[in-house]
């Protein structure tokens, strides 16, 4: 998530004019102009051009890791055996898996450390995402779950495909496959385009506009915001993050659908959840299932003693925190979520499940608070913000303007309401039923051009709107 924001001005930004009107149309033309059997290759080449435009210096790292992972994976596949699997084959496969995991995790840790302790610019574009795909690839091969052909182009494309390389979703190799299962039809293309347009609208029309609210709060200084504004800010930031990331995921998956792939769902109405555990089964689903399949379950998952289960959850959530960014607040964020999820599992989860409205309120209050921890990297400022949220526990505030909420709810009320509406699953059920309705289609066209209006006038930089 960090990566998208830091590099908003490159072509790699799906909601930028350069991507929407330059790179992508040209790529589409070439992709559909060549015969089917060359399309994977065209996609791979396009992905490398895309990555090079984003961050040329780290392209060799991606290419090098791709070759190494492919070679190790190939060996693993060779020793798969047939009817009889010899013990030595098993051992060999295990050694190869360990080798690849040490390599991939080592590189990720190394660059995360460089990015954290030396300079943020040393964190290669999309590394958290493509390395997770490499790990997934190796483990799935080891477990014998990959049935498709694993040619070099297919593997390299899986690691580097441009819709996912910057920020996911973390697709599985089996969902990409070797190209034999693509659906090339106008209807399928149209579906992909709709996902893309909806995602674009979420990002440009909601997330980017709401982002200005959060920036305003930082500009004012948390010590000077009123308690209602602090809550409005927490809600605004939560919605901003949601539509930024969900919008991005929809654009990425929409592009893949336009290219003949299947849709990868990354968000499933998390704000309609009845518990924090459920929220994270519906939020950034491909990351959640990654941790579930490659960390939690191999450690024993839920099929073990209570204390071991707690440890497993703690490890997963600590890793989740570290993965999201370099700052103590991210670890704190992961820890708080881990504790809440452990408590749900061990203490009040069953009780909560029986309390319809209360369980929703529980999610709707707690999740925004955790996002505040996620948002504020400076622990001192984080403390101040919580002081403003809960003034009775000792956050008096300095130079607070008690009327600020009036102005901000006037300015952002509409956006917040629109955002809240899109948190309701029924809205999307309605859309699904009527998505071929001409009115809906016209509405999507308006969303597209209205987004383009903002993109053209801000040239991909929402902060242009922040005139002084």
């Amino acid at each position: 998530m960090q990566t998208i924001k830091d590099r908003a001005d490159f072509m790699v930004n799906f909601s930028g004019m350069e991507f929407v009107f330059r790179f992508f149309p040209v790529f589409l033309l070439v992709y559909y102009a060549v015969p089917r059997r060359y399309r994977e290759f065209v996609f791979l080449a396009g992905s490398y051009v895309f990555y090079a435009a984003g961050e040329l210096v780290f392209l060799p790292l991606l290419a090098g890791l791709t070759v190494l992972n492919y070679l190790v994976g190939k060996k693993v596949k060779e020793h798969e055996g047939s009817y009889i699997v010899y013990r030595w084959q098993k051992a060999k496969r295990r050694r190869l898996l360990v080798l690849s995991l040490v390599l991939d995790v080592g590189v990720l840790v190394l660059f995360k450390a460089l990015g954290t302790f030396v300079d943020n610019s040393l964190l290669p574009l999309g590394i958290s995402f493509y390395i997770f795909k490499m790990i997934s690839y190796q483990v799935d091969l080891y477990k014998g779950e990959i049935w498709e052909q694993t040619g070099f182009v297919s593997a390299a494309l899986y690691f580097s495909m441009f819709p996912q390389v910057v920020s996911g979703p973390i697709m599985r190799y089996n969902d990409a496959g070797d190209g034999s299962r693509r659906e090339y039809s106008l209807e399928h293309f149209e579906d992909g385009l709709k996902y893309f347009v909806i995602g674009l609208g979420m990002k440009v029309l909601l997330a980017d506009r709401l982002g200005i609210l959060w920036n305003d709060l930082q500009m004012i200084g948390f010590q000077s915001i009123s308690t209602p504004l602090a809550w409005l800010g927490a809600a605004g930031y939560s919605l901003q993050l949601y539509f930024d990331f969900w919008g991005y995921s929809l654009m990425a998956s929409g592009i893949l659908v336009m290219l003949g792939y299947e849709f990868i769902e990354n968000f499933h109405h998390p704000y309609a959840s009845g518990s924090i555990s459920e929220f994270y089964r519906r939020w950034h689903m491909t990351l959640g299932s990654f941790f579930r399949d490659y960390v939690y379950i191999p450690m024993g998952g839920s099929r073990c003693r209570g204390s071991r289960q707690i440890l497993n959850l703690a490890v997963v959530w600590l890793l989740t925190g570290i993965w999201h960014g370099n700052g103590l607040n991210f670890i704190l964020w992961g820890a708080v979520l881990g504790i809440l999820i452990i408590l749900e599992k061990m203490c009040y989860g069953r009780l909560l499940a029986r309390l319809p409205v209360i369980r929703n309120l529980y999610v709707l209050v707690l999740i925004p608070l955790t996002w505040v921890i996620f948002a504020i990297t400076d622990l001192g400022k984080l403390g101040i913000y919580f002081g403003r949220l809960f003034p009775f526990i000792g956050g008096a505030g300095i130079a607070v303007n008690s009327q600020d909420i009036v102005r901000y709810s006037q300015n952002y009320g509409g956006l917040l309401l629109a955002g809240a509406l899109l948190c309701v699953p029924a809205v999307f059920r309605f859309y699904d039923r009527h998505k071929k309705n001409p009115v809906i289609i016209l509405l999507l066209a308006v969303v597209f051009w209205y987004s383009v209006y903002f993109m053209a006038s801000s040239a991909g930089n929402p902060f242009m709107y922040f005139k002084f």
Binding site: R22, E190, Q223, I398, S457, S458, F468
Partner: protein
């Protein structure tokens, strides 16, 4: 037909896209003539959308006087050649080169676009200072610039320091006195988002009136209708103010030259004086930006701010017009906005507006 049924959205986007491109192409020589456009980065239709942002709509193509509208617009907003980008671009290398527009008529350059009506300052250097004072009652003795902005400065959005510090020194020679808060009971503050901060995060609004809005510029200030108040003219007609405090200028950086800015600023200050002849007018120096911003931004930096402050300071006569510079109260030794006082490197954090208020209390005119 098959296409319409199976892929209607794609078809609509394709057709509207073509339509917008045609409109943009048609307006390229008329209403969009001033839009900057890079074919590698964006489609032609982007000028149409950027135009809407500047209140230029495609249907104006069909209006008879479309061309004149565009011409007027261009003239009314000096230097704002539809290029919304400059403020965000960092580093001189990334500026779009306005060469194609400039070369055919290089004479236009040193004193770029002017206001259409007989401008009070055609070229400050060329005219005797008496010519500057059209309005009766405007004090004389305004300082003249030492030189003109150069072509390079104009092209690189550098605000030239054409006045030097003579105005600032003369303004600082006045002995301001400490006043109490009741001093602001008949005060009017006019300004951009910085003044919004002063209004919202000090108690000054309990005494004074505030006409302020984010992104306000000296070019818009007299036309703007302020929510709940109306225009400056209406406000000044409705109440007798004893003091008018003005701070605008940060948004204008990167737009036009120091001469353009100064010409408009002079016009505004003189208009304020004409509308409220008895009011003391406090010309406030533009608040500087932090060191981080200063070092990384080719436009929003303190060199440009200081050059423009040096210009507007010359308007102070220490009788009716005074120049005060809040930077004395909020900047560090290096002359940058103190890093601890700001999050976004441009605005004071809410609580530090108190320093500004304190500074104003120290700088009353008895």
């Amino acid at each position: 037909m098959k296409f319409i049924k199976k892929s209607p959205l794609f078809l609509i986007l394709l057709l509207t896209g073509i339509l917008f491109t045609l409109a943009a192409a048609a307006g390229r020589s008329s209403i969009y003539a001033e839009q900057e456009y890079d074919i590698l980065k964006a489609p032609l239709l982007s000028v149409l959308f950027a135009g809407i942002n500047d209140d230029l709509y495609p249907w104006q193509l069909f209006e008879r006087d479309a061309v004149e509208t565009a011409a007027l617009k261009e003239a009314a907003e000096p230097g704002d050649n539809g290029e919304e980008e400059p403020p965000k671009e960092d580093g001189p290398g990334s500026f779009e080169d306005p060469e194609p527009e400039i070369t055919p008529e290089p004479a236009r350059m040193p004193e770029p676009v002017r206001t259409p009506e007989p401008a009070p300052t055609a070229s400050p250097a060329a005219l005797p200072s008496a010519a500057l004072t059209q309005t009766p009652g405007i004090p004389e003795g305004r300082l003249e610039p030492l030189r003109e902005s150069t072509r390079e400065e104009y092209l690189n959005h550098i605000s030239a320091d054409i006045y030097g510090d003579a105005g600032v020194l003369r303004a600082a020679s006045f002995a301001f006195s400490r006043v109490d808060e009741s001093y602001f009971d008949d005060a009017l503050f006019i300004g951009d988002s910085r003044t919004v901060g002063l209004r919202d995060y000090t108690d000054l609004a309990e005494h004074a009136d505030f006409l302020c809005e984010t992104s306000l510029t000296v070019y818009k200030v007299m036309e703007e209708s302020f929510k709940g108040y109306g225009t400056v003219e209406q406000v000044l007609a409705a109440k007798d103010y004893g003091k008018i405090y003005l701070m605008v200028g940060i948004n204008e950086l990167g737009r036009g030259t120091t001469e353009d800015f100064m010409a408009k600023y002079t016009e505004v200050v003189d208009a304020l004086h004409e509308l409220a002849p008895d009011a003391v007018i406090f010309i406030q120096g533009i608040m500087r930006v932090s060191g981080t911003k200063n070092d990384s931004d080719a436009i929003f930096n303190n060199g440009n701010i200081n050059a423009r402050n040096n210009a507007i300071a010359t308007l102070a006569d220490n009788k009716q017009f005074f120049y005060i510079d809040v930077n004395e109260a909020v900047c560090d030794e290096a002359g940058n906005l103190t890093a601890d006082y700001t999050h976004d490197q441009i605005h004071l954090l809410g609580m530090y507006n108190e320093l500004w208020k304190e500074f104003l209390l120290e700088h009353g005119v008895a």
